[in-house]
Symmetry: C3
Subunit: 351 residues, 3 copies
């Protein structure tokens, strides 16, 4: 596939700078790009690679145009423009129809004739697989599960009984949706299982990463609203609500009954304690721990950046004695006040 | 299914308040409950929903009875009572018998006629599957694995060679039990594999969450005692012992050769360093890091709650210079002492 | 299998102390060892078990020889020597050939006749499975994937299209290699998918733990160099480079475009922010957060060890007011300076 640069610009809504007839056959990163490819500059960290790039064109912001050695697509949002351009060059996922002979599909399920059920898949009674859905090898679709049109379900995904999935959802390999939540009640130093009676409901255009887990609700449903993007190895506990268009990076743990607003961004490895409510448009940076509700939009943090271990050990030793240090400051303030009294007394005595 | 409220009370050992003949057909959360359902109030956070609930009855503590607009089941442990009630209404898991034709079962394994081996399961030589065991689709049961009576093994669980599982154990989809521990020895800047020769032994009534991993022992076995409850995406390394009735929340990492006592509770995202010993009845809060043995029961923490990023940055900048701040306090103390000496000298001089 | 101690010594390059003809039939931990077994002492924490061991021989360092009640293999690197000895006693993994009848293997793939494709595996077009490779049950090998000689791929591993795996690589169950990276670009409060066009390339002698995920590159490839050892439940994002012979413990999250040097060691639960570069021979301790590049070898930390929750709460409350405490110290310094001025003035006045 190849496009003239001007044609690309028209398709993605960017402005051409330089030769609009230049022929683009693919995308490439700035340092490795060869003639015939288009690259992009979105992160200032990589500006140093601009001058020497051999790309035929670069997608960049107006401000970077001065340093560009070749043609350009100028955009107010270079990364977004790059995404659009890359989509034009991406090989489309293969689309198959029918049921692989090694799959076990219940006669009481409904599989759209335009859907594909891959090898070794298992589809239970009452399941409804929508048009265009592609089920990768080894997927397990439980009783009564519904998958909306054009779903792309990767290899070995498990959708437990009752899960509903909106249209155009992508789920990557190994994800487990709708397993029991962690509901246990104490009785005489033992645990009694609390039945997990809710389901998982996933909206439209959601993406769910590899080996991510989303538990069914205890009583209410666990809900992932439209357009949510979840990275790999995220754990979403029972009864959680993730608001529309929120993006969560890898390894985040969200405890039970948490409500996350719309358009939030949660950094990798963050943890959110149970029953917390987070407003719309909240940003939580990586490895932060949220223990209380966040009622207002803004950026929130508690991750501590690593430093050389010796220095960290000394600072941390001080942190452990911070209460004592504060006491010493209090004592100093007291003594100084007393001393000032004396000093003034002295002064006055001399007058 | 439906019960009179008085009948429910008798079955779960609670006291009725109000109309004992009122008919209960299901359980529901306080805010969404309709007439004919029973709800519960266990977390004070949700007390505000009590007055307006449309439930026919609520399970609650004596103290909350005053605010209850309907009938009630009064209990000293409302959440436990709710668990019992919900179990009465939960649809029982289906119980099947036999071997699905797509499963591969070794002729040298022993599968109880009352057990079920689901589609695409693989059962190796020497495996013993007990009565009533239900193996979900795609499970892999290695050589010599033993699964006790009534086990509920979810879809795509892997039990590696030699793993033993006690009766009534639940393992949720995607869990991997008995993979090699992370044993490597250094040789000239390279790593030599340390063979992992132990097994995993799991007691009775254990529950293991989705995509959780438990490694086989290096030499001794990794042991999960009776009644342990593990949430999703937990990593238990080789040689670990988890004492009976301990509960561990999601995303916890337990390093090699750790010994955790009985009835402990470990919050989500916590990490435990290698070779540490933790006493019985220890509670570790979410995202704490345990680096030393904890010889006494109690609550232990090191997670830092998130705050607005600007304030956090300033506080953290101070934390990085805490050693210096302590030095300044020391200097102040010294100077003040000197000054006080001078002041006293001055005083004395004036006497 | 049994060896004379002297024979063992010769095979692993250690020195015998005591009876070289003593017969060794297996390995065992110090406290549980029976006569006929060899044990080892590598971690000083376990020295207390040495005197009472019933092992016939112990692998240990010169310095521990004095406390050894039996024969010994003396080694400068006892853990490495133990690894070599244990390898001699470990039952070799079974090696099979052929394709299980329940596997789905594309006619357009190439499976070496000396390789084994297990039950319910799926091998796509263009895949190349090298000699001696053992694919466990339920593996999914995508289009064009190449697996080098002698690979040991555990149950239910997913290798997405285009992944290349070097010789002698071990991948444990449930790992997902080559799923899409988390690439999203913002457009009017929604997310647009950035196509993930790169692959994953894995070098020789790499080991990858259970349920670990490694994403394909966005544009460049994600690269795991020779001899890298990855524990369970690690998340490696797109475009990451992990340098040769680096070892990463469980539950670590590595964000996109990170470059990790050679021979690094990263402790469990650590997190590395996007685009960071880490030099060779860097050690990062458990649960640290790396937010900036680390240009020099050394040990880096930011994990806070847990302490009793009451004390932690008080210290943390101070941490939250550290900015204020620093302000009070500044004020004290100012006042003291002023006071000293006064005091000097007083002194001078008295001269």
């Amino acid at each position: 596939m190849a496009f003239a640069l001007g044609d690309l610009a028209r398709r993605v809504g960017a402005r051409v700078h330089g030769d609009a007839t230049c022929r683009i056959e693919g995308v490439a990163p700035l340092p490795d790009a060869r003639p015939g490819t288009i690259s992009f500059l979105a992160n200032p960290r990589y500006r140093r690679h601009l001058a020497a790039t051999r790309a035929s064109a670069v997608i960049l912001a107006e401000d970077d145009l001065g340093g560009c050695p070749c043609a350009a697509l100028v955009s107010a949002h270079p990364y977004l423009t790059y995404a659009r351009v890359a989509q034009l060059f991406a090989r489309p996922d293969p689309v198959l129809h029918g049921v692989h002979p090694s799959a076990s599909v219940s006669a009481e399920s409904r599989v759209d004739p335009g859907a594909w059920v891959g090898p070794c898949c298992v589809v239970a009674a009452g399941a409804v697989i929508g048009p265009g859905v592609q089920l990768g090898p080894g997927c397990v679709v439980g009783e009564g599960v519904e998958i909306g049109a054009e779903g792309r379900i990767g290899a070995r995904v498990v959708l437990c009984a009752g899960t509903t999935v909106g249209p155009r959802v992508r789920i990557h390999p190994g994800a487990v949706i709708g397993a029991d939540g962690f509901g246990i009640a104490e009785e005489d130093d033992r645990w009694v299982k609390v039945p997990q009676l809710g389901r998982v409901r996933i909206g439209a255009d959601v993406e769910i990463g590899a080996n991510t887990t989303i538990d069914r609700g205890a009583l209410e449903d666990t809900v992932i609203e439209d357009g949510v993007k979840l990275d790999n190895q995220i754990q979403i506990a029972h009864n959680v609500l993730v608001g529309a268009h929120t993006a969560i990076a890898g390894c985040v743990g969200v405890s039970g009954s948490v409500r996350i607003g719309r358009r939030c961004r949660i950094g990798g490895g963050a943890g959110i304690a149970g029953h917390v409510e987070i407003a719309d448009d909240v940003v939580i940076t990586g490895m932060s721990l949220v223990t209380k509700s966040i009622p207002r939009a803004g950026v929130y943090s508690s991750g501590i950046p690593a430093e050389p271990a010796g220095r960290w050990r000394r600072n941390h030793a001080r942190l452990r004695r911070l209460e004592a240090l504060a006491g010493r400051v209090r004592a100093l303030e007291r003594e100084l006040r007393a001393l000032r009294g004396t000093a003034r007394g002295t002064d006055r005595g001399e007058e």
